[in-house]
Symmetry: C2
Subunit: 298 residues, 2 copies
């Protein structure tokens, strides 16, 4: 008998792969960037073949096949869309660029409606080139969220502010902690603005369990992947398969579950080794690790 | 006339190098790791030749020449010792290892006394190998500080808890924000336990200016260097010369000055390109950047 191996670690699997129809898979979602080696079509087919019930989509691969086609494929697949990634990038200083970002975010909200998801993940954006005004960039992000919130709410879409690990504060996401994301979200109705809780971005936050409790019904998405060391040269790709790094998934998941969060759990991993593996093996590994480290604590 | 060039950027210097005796140099300290290409002897001579009045020392190069010799050299140099780096590494789980860490930290406190500095910089340490219990590691660090504080206080040394950028939470420093460092420090008299405020580690913290105000007299050291992108493959070396990255030094420095902080300002840069330059050029560049971006706001 050949041992089943996890990817990308190459370790022997510690648990059986949950079979199609296993109730433990009912809330597991494949964020499609986890299998960047797959097209949208392959990701939908792969998620269904593995018995998942939902998928997290990205705008670019959706645009590639066209929104209408993508929406049809999703409907045919029977999968829920747990979220659409990503709106945001709100930190430009020029009025024209800010208006363009607003328009693009309204388009993203419309795409959510077409694809049948009620969650748009917002990546706030980094410092504009040459700027050192972090406070100003944060203010502009908060203002843009305020401008978009009613538009989203009218369409039944909730904006999910994604606080990002401080390693990205300069170049990608100026909202750096769950506390800070909630300070912004709480200025708006929970039906319009919530937060994305991602283990990779937030595991270090000193009072993260209290902030998760504070978030309560504002948690619009729970994303999981691990913080691995050493951080690779391209630090965008420093995400690991759950269990390969330093995150305490049971504790984190219990805190999220205690809020009453009943949504899907997205696995979102950017990692060159994950992308070099066969998509089927990635999905099978993530289902095993989820069954071991996350699902029992939901 | 040959243009004076900054290192490691190679940009033309924007301001004149402050000459020896310039009052603007009165609080500028060379942390000796900024000139890792220099021995202790060379660093003392180099700092004095540049007209600085203080130096931040590291235990390893002090031990290399012997504590007594180092103390004599320091006394002869006329330089103040702004701090000694570093105590800490408190997160081991085994009682033996914890006792060894306590003993090593008491030795470091004694070395502070011998070298004539009243500040021991504490690097808390990371997760023990294989552990995912970040909360536990943080608790052990706080407990160790509590055990050491009276010993330090009796010897006139203040422990400086150094909150470290969350990129280091797994492998180096489990205290991840100034807010968290203050939560620990405030359990002890300010004469025993304070905090190290380092622009590189803290520039991203959403309410850092409020936390600096809260710190008040607990700021035992102000260290400056820049956050540069892209973060290099060895992320320990991602520190930049002030002005080469994303940190708003005037705003940060004003906040520190508003607390009444009257101590030295240490330049501490770990950067392979800085270390590849001539030590004299590093010290001259740091003096210029300090005169431009930091000193006017003190």
């Amino acid at each position: 008998m050949t041992a089943v191996l996890d990817v990308p670690s190459g370790d022997a699997a510690r648990v059986e792969t949950p079979p199609v129809g296993d109730p433990r898979l009912a809330r597991l979602s494949l964020n499609q960037r986890t299998t960047a080696q797959w097209s949208l079509r392959e990701a939908l087919d792969g998620a269904r073949a593995a018995g998942l019930s939902s998928i997290g989509l990205w705008r670019e691969p959706v645009a590639e096949v066209g929104l209408e086609t993508a929406a049809q494929w999703v409907a045919d697949s029977g999968l829920r869309v747990s979220s659409l990634c990503r709106g945001g990038f709100f930190t430009a200083e020029e009025p024209d660029a800010r208006e363009a970002a607003d328009a693009d975010n309204r388009a993203a909200i419309d795409e959510c409606v077409a694809l049948g998801t009620d969650v748009l993940v917002l990546v706030p954006g980094g410092l504009p080139g040459g700027s050192k005004d972090l406070a100003g960039a944060r203010e502009r992000a908060a203002e843009a969220i305020g401008r978009l919130a009613p538009y989203a709410g009218e369409r039944g879409v909730r904006l999910g502010i994604e606080p990002m690990h401080p390693i990205f504060a300069a170049d990608r996401g100026v909202v750096s902690s769950l506390r800070q994301a909630l300070d912004i979200a709480e200025q708006h109705p929970a039906s319009q603005v919530g937060v994305v809780v991602d283990t990779y971005h937030l595991w270090w936050e000193p009072d993260v369990e209290q902030q998760i409790a504070r978030a309560g019904e504002r948690i619009v998405a729970y994303q999981v992947c691990d913080w691995i060391t050493p951080v690779p040269a391209d630090n965008l790709l420093g995400r690991g398969m759950m269990g390969d790094g330093h995150v305490d998934f049971p504790a984190f998941t219990r805190a999220v579950a205690a809020t009453g969060y009943a949504g899907d759990v997205e696995v979102e991993i950017f990692n060159a080794d994950v992308w070099a593996a066969a998509g089927e093996d990635v999905v099978a590994t993530m289902a095993r690790r989820y069954a071991e480290l996350v699902e029992p604590y939901l």
